[in-house]
Symmetry: C2
Subunit: 316 residues, 2 copies
């Protein structure tokens, strides 16, 4: 079975390393030719939770040159939401009608990318809370055990046998459970509600996640989440306010010392995922005439911070 992993960030490298331990043909499709070369030369090193480093070799190809490849049976897309539009055409070229495509993004917006596939292979969303950190272009650290949910998306349906067998086959190499989720859209919104509160607030205030509990921000989080639930409910997703708030508190507590990915992006001078998180909520809200003041405000502040950072980086 031929498997492709599109994107070689932390999650992409983690899966590349895991799958290459089984007798699969794993190809990593990289954004740049430079990273492709490094992966070919050095292989992938994965530092496991127990500190052990596992080294494996994988095939690799720059995403621009996939037209020569024969189609893949399973494709993991692990690029960021805002990079999706750039990879859909190459993915189209190397998939066949029964390819199983799994989207591993944060936030919302995958349905737009899926719309760009001419014929519709079977598509899924995978949500994961596993922690991984990319130390270099070929070295990834598995930093925390989590859970993974997979569900058909954008249409509700059953897993195809190919995916069913695949997930069963990879059990020996994953330590974190992979669950089938029939209500993946609701779970996406739950994750969105958490990210839409924690990410922008920690980014604007430049504080670790736990600080959101000790300062007087619970009020804002309540109001933000109220808006998120209103938008979700308007588009037919049952998102419960108090359950979402409980989840947010839980994540702040469990990751109290961590810097959110958005804050890390800002500090690293990178583009954040605000557009597919709060930006996506604002987009749905506009389409359904729901007022979302708090999301708009945080969105604008994070965008301003991004722009300021970019200008400062450019003038260095």
């Amino acid at each position: 079975m031929r498997i492709a992993i599109v994107g070689a960030g932390s999650i992409g490298l983690l899966w590349a390393s895991r799958l290459s331990r089984l007798p699969y043909e794993v190809t990593v499709l990289t954004h740049t030719a430079a990273q492709h070369k490094k992966i070919v030369q050095a292989g992938i090193s994965c530092e496991e939770l127990d500190g052990q480093v596992v080294h494996t070799n994988v095939t690799s190809c720059p995403i621009e040159e996939t037209s020569e490849l024969s189609p893949f049976d399973i494709i993991f897309i692990t690029v960021k939401q805002y990079q999706l539009q750039n990879v859909m055409e190459p993915i189209q070229r190397c998939s066949h009608p029964f390819t199983q495509i799994l989207f591993w993004q944060n936030g919302l917006g995958q349905e737009k990318a899926i719309d760009e596939l001419h014929y519709r292979p079977d598509t899924y969303v995978a949500l994961t809370t596993e922690g991984a950190y990319r130390k270099s272009d070929t070295y990834v650290v598995h930093t925390g055990q989590g859970e993974t949910w997979i569900g058909t998306f954008p249409h509700q349906g059953e897993w195809k046998p190919l995916l069913q067998d695949f997930v069963k086959a990879i059990q020996p190499i994953v330590i974190s459970p992979i669950r089938k989720e029939s209500m993946i859209l609701r779970r996406m919104w739950e994750k969105l509600a958490v990210n839409a509160a924690i990410n922008p607030l920690t980014t604007i205030l430049e504080v670790p996640n736990g600080e959101l509990l000790s300062v007087d921000l619970e009020n804002i989080m309540e109001k933000l989440t109220g808006e998120t639930c209103q938008v979700a409910n308007r588009i037919g997703v049952e998102l419960d306010h108090s359950r979402a708030i409980k989840k947010i508190r839980e994540v702040c507590n469990l990751t109290s010392q961590n810097l959110s990915s958005m804050l890390q992006d800002i500090q690293g001078g990178k583009r954040t995922e605000i557009d597919s998180i709060n930006g996506a909520i604002i987009q749905y809200a506009k389409e359904h005439n729901v007022p979302v003041y708090w999301h708009e405000m945080l969105y604008t502040l994070v965008k301003a911070k991004e722009a300021h950072n970019k200008r400062n980086t450019n003038t260095l």
Copy 2:
């Protein structure tokens, strides 16, 4: 004529230096005994716009010990809005029924302080755009020429002859015009509208004033100012939205390299004036049932930043 200046910050020291160049009896009422001693020992040095340093001596007294003093004819109150409540009783003790009291605060809230005076001396609000910077407890730098408006407050009325004569007499020592303002409340709200937009945004983003124009924040400033105008109009102050926005842009342009006082306070680990600026607007809004989402959000974020700073300072 006996003049008191309450508070020896930048504006207090600037006025103490100026007035002590005329044959007035000037007394600076200090917050601490330590600053009182320094002023007695060293006098006040004022670095003028042309770089010249003028040295003068003034009388001084800690604010706690004013009960022994005979009453003053004119009192400048230059402490911050949130310190007003601590100084009203001592001021009461050293004023007589015809004392002319001038409040030099940013923001709103003076009427509460004035309410605490048992009998009502003549009270005024002075608004100034002059720039001053306190280099040490006894050294002040006049950093920019501005304008000063004085009007009776909280009740609309005429200047009393004593103040009239006084302002005429001090003309030779001020280079910035002092204007009589019959609509001081409206001017206070105009200044408030400017501060309520520039101060919290620059503080949250940690950028100089000019950055508010180059990033996509004009939208937030429009909405914030819309709320400010609504609240002002509801309490009977005619505040024009487009005029306020024009003023905000003008200030951002003229002071583009400057850090707002609120950002300076945050960076110095000090308490900000958010309560008497956005906090005051929120207070009036509550009393008149006007929704002020944008002010609430910025207020909470600045408060969170203040609290975070305080915790960090305490743990150092």
